[in-house]
């Protein structure tokens, strides 16, 4: 409840400004009020500004263990990394050459095989849904860690993924329920994929200094980009009479986003979690996603279910859980969007220049050929544009259509 208050406060701040501005324009006409009011909005958005904390030296090395045992396909994946200082621009450091294993409460032990960059995995496990599992890790420098025993929690199927187009964007919601009433705590991850186009279509490419018409495979006008979620999406139905989740807002695509310029798709993965994991995730969410308002809880250290065996006072971060996921995919076509969301924002700064055949010799690699300029039947030159405008891959996507795409 509290995290909303931040926004409320921000709103109240704005309203107090409105009042003041209103006061000064009291004897003017209503339209003037509106003008003055909108003039104050940019001033107010300055209330929150970037802040660089004093340089904090992290003198302890903290291991992060992120483990999941998938009971459905019998696979386990564990990622070992290190936390790094806030100001550190380097990539997250993986923990290499550790021995990682999963153990059940019957004493069976399965060693995971090191993949690349600190990922340890195993497939083909025979999971007993009634058993409890734990994770143990021994790092290269002999530090030992173990998780608590966790239960295998299966997830009910997703009933539906729905979407609502409002003035400010598209809201995606998830609905589910569990008739047995055993689930109660839900967690979702999602992967968004969207189809989009470059601002300028490039029909030609240069091979050496020679323009060649692009084949269908070579076209760089249409791309698909896939991005996994980074936020924590959790909810609980414990306060409800039935184990139902109705219209949980999982994702939001703002108006004007590239994501909804052609076709948008979202794959939602649902997992039932234990109360302990829910509490852990909720704290993690509170401390990293919604702090800073007047009425937010004080941030605190969030410790999961993994402990250090060699040094009980050492901090280790992360969580180990086991269970199954269920998933559901949703597509949203541009043509089904409500009218206010259909307005395409034209890309700024995409100019199309032209180049004569003779100048092709000096053509720089930073630009891309677009179309040909004909004089009668002869090509006398080409239109050119920047790669950022004519090559959709510049925005992070790939030109290969994903397998699930219709």
């Amino acid at each position: 409840m509290n995290h909303r208050l931040v926004f409320y406060l921000a709103l109240i701040m704005r309203t107090s400004w409105y009042r003041i501005s209103f006061f000064f324009s009291m004897n003017q006409r209503d339209s003037h009020i509106a003008l003055l009011v909108s003039a104050f909005i940019p001033v107010l958005s300055g209330c929150v500004e970037p802040y660089q904390p004093p340089a904090i030296q992290l003198d302890v090395d903290i291991l992060v263990i992120d483990g999941f045992l998938n009971s459905e396909d019998g696979s386990a994946i564990v990622r070992l990394t290190h936390a790094n200082a806030l100001s550190d621009k380097n990539m997250i450091q993986p923990e290499l050459n550790a021995s990682v294993s999963i153990q059940d409460d019957m004493g069976n032990r399965y060693a995971l095989i090191e993949q690349d960059t600190g990922t340890y995995a195993l497939t083909g496990l025979n999971i007993n849904p009634a058993a409890k599992y734990m994770l143990s890790v021994r790092t290269a420098n002999e530090a030992e860690y173990a998780s608590d025993f966790v239960n295998i929690i299966s997830s009910p199927p997703i009933d539906s993924i729905t979407w609502t187009g409002k003035d400010d964007g598209v809201y995606v919601q998830v609905n589910t329920h569990d008739d047995t009433g055993n689930t109660r705590y839900y967690r979702w991850d999602y992967v968004e994929t969207w189809k989009y186009h470059a601002a300028v279509s490039s029909d030609w490419k240069l091979v050496g200094k020679v323009p060649v018409y692009r084949t269908d495979d070579e076209r760089i006008y249409t791309c698909w980009r896939t991005v996994p979620s980074t936020k924590i999406s959790i909810t609980t139905s414990v306060r409800l009479a039935e184990d139902i989740v109705s219209q949980y807002p999982i994702a939001f695509v703002p108006k004007g986003s590239t994501k909804i310029t052609d076709e948008y798709s979202i794959l939602v993965k649902q997992r039932a979690v234990s109360k302990a994991e829910y509490d852990f995730l909720e704290q993690l969410q509170k401390t990293t996603e919604s702090l800073g308002g007047l009425f937010d809880p004080q941030p605190s250290q969030v410790i999961g279910n993994i402990h250090s065996l060699s040094d009980p006072s050492a901090t280790v971060l992360g969580y180990f859980s086991a269970g199954a996921t269920t998933e559901e995919r949703l597509f949203i076509d541009y043509y089904n969007l409500p009218d206010p969301l259909k307005k395409l924002t034209s890309p700024v700064g995409c100019e199309v220049d032209s180049i004569s055949n003779s100048d092709l010799q000096n053509f720089s690699g930073y630009e891309v050929l677009a179309g040909a300029i004909y004089s009668g039947p002869f090509i006398v030159g080409y239109t050119v544009s920047s790669a950022a405008c004519a090559d959709c891959r510049y925005q992070g996507g790939v030109t290969t259509k994903p397998a699930f795409w219709p």
Binding site: M1, A34, V37, S290, L294, F295, P297, P299, Q301, V302
Partner: protein, 921 residues
């Protein structure tokens, strides 16, 4: 002017001692004057008749008389004489002629001159004195009159006690904290909250002096024969420029016994520049040394390192649980109905109890006993109106104050859909009745309601409300003893409602209510002892959470947390003892008893392990009225004052306080949805001790006060919270609470100039505040059991409040505030988990937000000062945060799109100008 008064005085003496008029003179005069000096004219007339002239030679020395009189009456001659001059004459029954410049004088006494009640008389029609000058004249007369006190006796050996009330002559309101004293020997008392004083003096003649803030000092000549009464009226000081403003606290600060106490009257507060155009007592209190808050826009006060819930906030003796409107941007006290605010930081006397840290005692006015009047104001956010007047003149008065906001209306005018769907409104209502049954009995009734509603962008709506009522009956047994019987009711409740999704629509309600009764007695034993004693009892009833579905589609499972009941009682006695003129002391003790009462199911936790849901062993049911847990203990209070000289003193005080009800809040600032919790089996009552020492000096004829105070305090059983505590709708909230002990210490320096064109204060405070949660279980330990700074630990604070009166109508104020940034918990490291960047935080409160600095200015412009006007008005122009400094309210980090970004949130990041219009009729 002096001569003029002397004339009047002579006239009065003559009138008093020459009771037999010497008959109307009917002499006809015949004389001839040609360019004769006025003095010769007088000699001539006096020689021919029995008339006597009284005049000021300076006014008449240029007057040459040229008159030819043929058997004329004196009146006709004088009419001719003064024709075309500035002079006036008056002729009385005894044949005295008074020649005055500019103005006639009155030869008759006001009709009520011998009426000792001292009420204003009806105006004598033929004279053009303004009401003000008339009162001025009466004041002089009253000051020179000798009042016999008590039954007359020739035995003037020993002492006698006189008592009475000090009231404001314009509206009959009691004057609180007025100094009533004689200078030789120096004996003085201050009036209490009813304006009542009782002073024991040697029998005989004294000049009794009376002084108070913003009032004209006055005196009474008394002849003290025996115990008796004297009612005194003070006149409001309407010409502060020409007179030194004498503050009653001036002497009290040095010579009084009380330390660590600040008294603010509403006039001082109204001159201060404040955000959003509203005089806000909580914000004014924040400018005093030793008072902090976690950030601007929050109402909670942290007094000398105490938590916000450790302050007892009283409004006319009823407890206020949430003194804030709109999240804390306003306090719930309407400035127009207030009279004064007392803040006790240390040396708290035995009559107060129930909270650890401080007492904020807010009193409203009683209403004008003499005439109907009103006041009000319009600021950018609120409108307010106060009406008051007599119901029965001089006996019963009422006061009604209303304040509301028109922000809802403004929100609807805006062209943003988001804001059109929002609501934010509040109101507060005060209604008081004061009835004087007779000289010995007085009845006071006070009621108060504040209410807030807000709903933003049509989602969740919040409503909260404070309701209070109190009845006080004051009975004077005799001049030495009086008692006050008080009954009160306070309630705070809030409701949260959400209907955004019909399936999850809910309402959540919380309420705390208390009914209390107390009896207080003051006994003025003799000149050296004043004894106070009393008893009180409070019955608490808490509904800690009621969660209900809203609408037919809602699947919300109702959840009602069990109600809580408690009974807190106390007895106290204290003696204020003047050992010698140099040394006085106060010793008191309060003994409080507390019971946590059934009906209730109570969880019992396993011994030797941390309290968790999983360690609940048993649930024990207690029947209605059965004691579940009980606590009691003595609360000693002690202060001593030693005068180093007439202008300097040293004071020392110690007090212990017990607190049986606490607020549970896991957020930095108080929120409307914080819950209160009674002490029970698992959550022990808080106990606090404070020792403080102070040095006080006045300089420059009492116009500059220097105060230095230092304190050390400890707090036991303070509540702190486990990481990620859940407090709302938690049936076993004790599993999320940890027991913490606190310590705080500091020193406060203040220089205050209370008189003159330039007045104000500058203060510096050094203070520290720490908590320690060192329990045997790791989950109940914070920061490994070490002391850590509390969220409101701000070591350095400097405040400057300056007020300059350019003229009677223009007043300029400047306010500057500096403080160290409050402690926060910062992230030390980032890591990846579940696809996103997460943060690893430091131990609690190991870092600080940037330091805070703010400058505010305001200009008050009063309308013209004509006394006879339909309404008096004033304009206030203020700029809050003049320099536009972007003070950090908080610093936070967010994981956004794979990046961890730091942000600084400032609340009033730009200069905020406001205009307020105030009126009074």
């Amino acid at each position: 002017m002096n001569r003029f008064y002397r004339l009047i005085f002579i006239c009065c003496i003559l009138l008093i001692f020459n009771q037999h008029g010497f008959g109307q003179q009917r002499d006809m005069i015949t004389a001839d004057f040609n360019n004769t000096p006025f003095e010769k004219f007088v000699v001539e007339i006096e020689s021919k008749t029995k008339y006597h002239f009284y005049y000021n030679p300076n006014a008449t020395d240029s007057l040459m008389v040229t008159l030819s009189i043929q058997s004329k009456a004196i009146g006709a001659i004088l009419d001719q004489l003064i024709d075309g001059t500035q002079l006036h004459y008056a002729l009385d029954d005894q044949g005295n002629i008074f020649i005055t410049e500019y103005r006639e004088i009155m030869t008759d006494l006001p009709s009520d001159f011998f009426d000792h009640s001292g009420t204003t008389s009806s105006q004598v029609a033929s004279f053009d004195y303004t009401a003000y000058e008339k009162r001025e004249k009466e004041k002089k007369l009253l000051e020179n009159k000798l009042y016999p006190i008590g039954t007359k006796t020739s035995d003037l050996q020993g002492k006698a006690t006189m008592a009475g009330h000090v009231r404001d002559v314009t509206n009959g309101e009691p004057v609180i904290g007025a100094a009533v004293f004689v200078e030789n020997p120096l004996i003085g008392v201050a009036t209490d909250q009813f304006g009542y004083y009782s002073i024991t003096l040697p029998k005989g003649r004294h000049a009794l002096k009376i002084q108070s803030i913003g009032m004209k000092p006055t005196q009474r000549q008394i002849m003290l024969y025996n115990d008796g009464n004297l009612e005194i009226e003070l006149d409001e000081d309407v010409t502060p420029l020409k007179e030194v403003v004498v503050q009653s606290e001036r002497d009290v600060r040095v010579t009084g016994l009380q330390m660590g106490m600040e008294k603010l009257d509403i006039k001082t507060m109204k001159n201060m520049p404040l955000a959003l155009g509203e005089t806000d007592i909580m914000k004014v209190v924040l400018t005093l040394p030793g008072v902090q808050s976690v950030g601007e826009g929050t109402v909670g006060l942290n007094v000398r390192g105490g938590a916000t819930n450790q302050n007892l906030i009283l409004f006319n003796d009823a407890v206020i649980y949430n003194p804030s409107h709109l999240f804390g941007f306003f306090s719930t006290f309407n400035p127009d109905v207030l009279k004064n605010v007392d803040l006790y930081k240390s040396g708290i006397t035995a009559d107060y109890g129930g909270r650890l840290s401080a007492v904020l005692d807010v009193t409203s006015r009683e209403g004008n006993l003499k005439k109907f009047s009103g006041s009000g104001g319009i600021s950018p956010i609120t409108g307010r109106l106060t009406l008051e007047g007599p119901i029965i003149k001089e006996k019963t008065s009422f006061l009604l104050g209303l304040r509301s906001t028109y922000s809802n209306w403004i929100l609807r005018q805006l062209n943003s859909k988001e804001l059109q769907n929002s609501q934010a409104s509040f109101y507060d209502i005060n209604a008081n009745i004061s009835h004087k049954i007779n000289d010995k009995n007085h009845l006071y009734l006070s009621t108060y309601i504040s209410n807030d509603n807000f709903k933003l962008n049509g989602d969740t709506s919040y409503q909260y409300s404070d309701r209070n009522a109190s009845v006080k009956w004051k009975h004077i047994f005799n001049t030495k003893l009086y008692g006050v019987l008080t009954g009160g009711f306070s309630q705070y409740n809030y409701a949260v409602e959400s209907d955004a999704n019909p399936v999850n629509a809910f309402t959540m309600k919380f309420a705390i209510q208390q009914i209390n009764a107390k009896a207080d007695f003051s006994y003025f034993l003799n000149a050296r002892h004043t004894i106070t004693a009393g008893l009180s009892t409070i019955r608490y009833a808490l509904a800690p959470g009621n969660f209900q579905p809203s609408g037919e589609q809602s699947l919300i499972e109702p959840e009602v947390l069990e109600k809580e009941q408690g009974l807190e009682s106390a007895v106290y006695i204290g003696d204020s003892f003047e050992v010698s003129p140099k040394l006085s002391l106060y010793a008191g003790v309060r003994y409080s008893f507390y019971q946590y009462l059934g009906p209730k199911n109570v969880y019992r936790y396993a011994d030797g392990v941390s309290k968790e849901e999983s360690t609940i062993m048993d649930t024990i049911h207690y029947a209605s009225g059965k004691s579940i847990a009980s606590y009691h203990g003595a609360e000693p209070r002690f202060s001593v004052r030693y005068s180093l000289s007439n202008n300097a003193s040293l004071k020392l005080s110690y007090n212990r306080m017990r607190q049986y009800v606490q607020m549970l809040s896991n957020t930095t600032a108080i929120t409307p949805t914080d819950i209160w919790k009674l002490s029970d089996t698992n959550i022990k009552p808080q106990v606090g001790d404070q020792i403080s020492i102070g040095f006080y000096k006045t300089m420059r004829k009492h116009s500059i006060d220097v105060t230095v105070e230092a304190y050390y305090k400890t707090m036991e059983n303070s509540v702190d919270f486990k990481n990620g505590a859940v407090l709302l709708l938690n049936p076993h909230v004790e599993t999320d609470v940890v027991n913490a002990n606190g310590k705080a210490y500091g020193a406060e320096f203040m220089i205050k100039k209370s008189a003159g064109k330039l007045n104000g204060w500058i203060s510096y405070t050094y203070s520290r505040s720490f908590l320690r949660a060192n329990n045997s279980f790791p989950s109940e330990t914070v920061n490994q059991g070490k002391y850590y700074p509390s969220s409101y630990d701000k070591p350095h604070a400097v405040n400057f409040i300056g007020n300059y009166k350019f003229s009677r109508r223009f007043n300029f104020s400047l306010n500057m505030t500096y403080s160290t940034g409050r402690p926060i918990t910062l992230p030390l490291a980032k890591y990846e988990l579940g696809g996103g960047n997460r943060l690893y935080y430091s131990e609690r409160n190991q870092f600080r937000i940037p330091n805070y600095f703010r400058t505010d200015i305001s200009i008050n412009i009063e309308g013209n000062h004509k006394i006879k006007k339909l309404a008096h008005s004033s304009w206030t122009f203020a700029v809050y945060n003049l320099t536009g400094r972007q003070n950090a309210y908080s610093v936070f980090f967010r994981s956004e799109g794979g990046q961890v970004n730091g942000y600084k949130l400032s609340i009033f990041a730009q200069p905020i100008p406001t205009v307020t219009y105030n009126f009074k009729f």
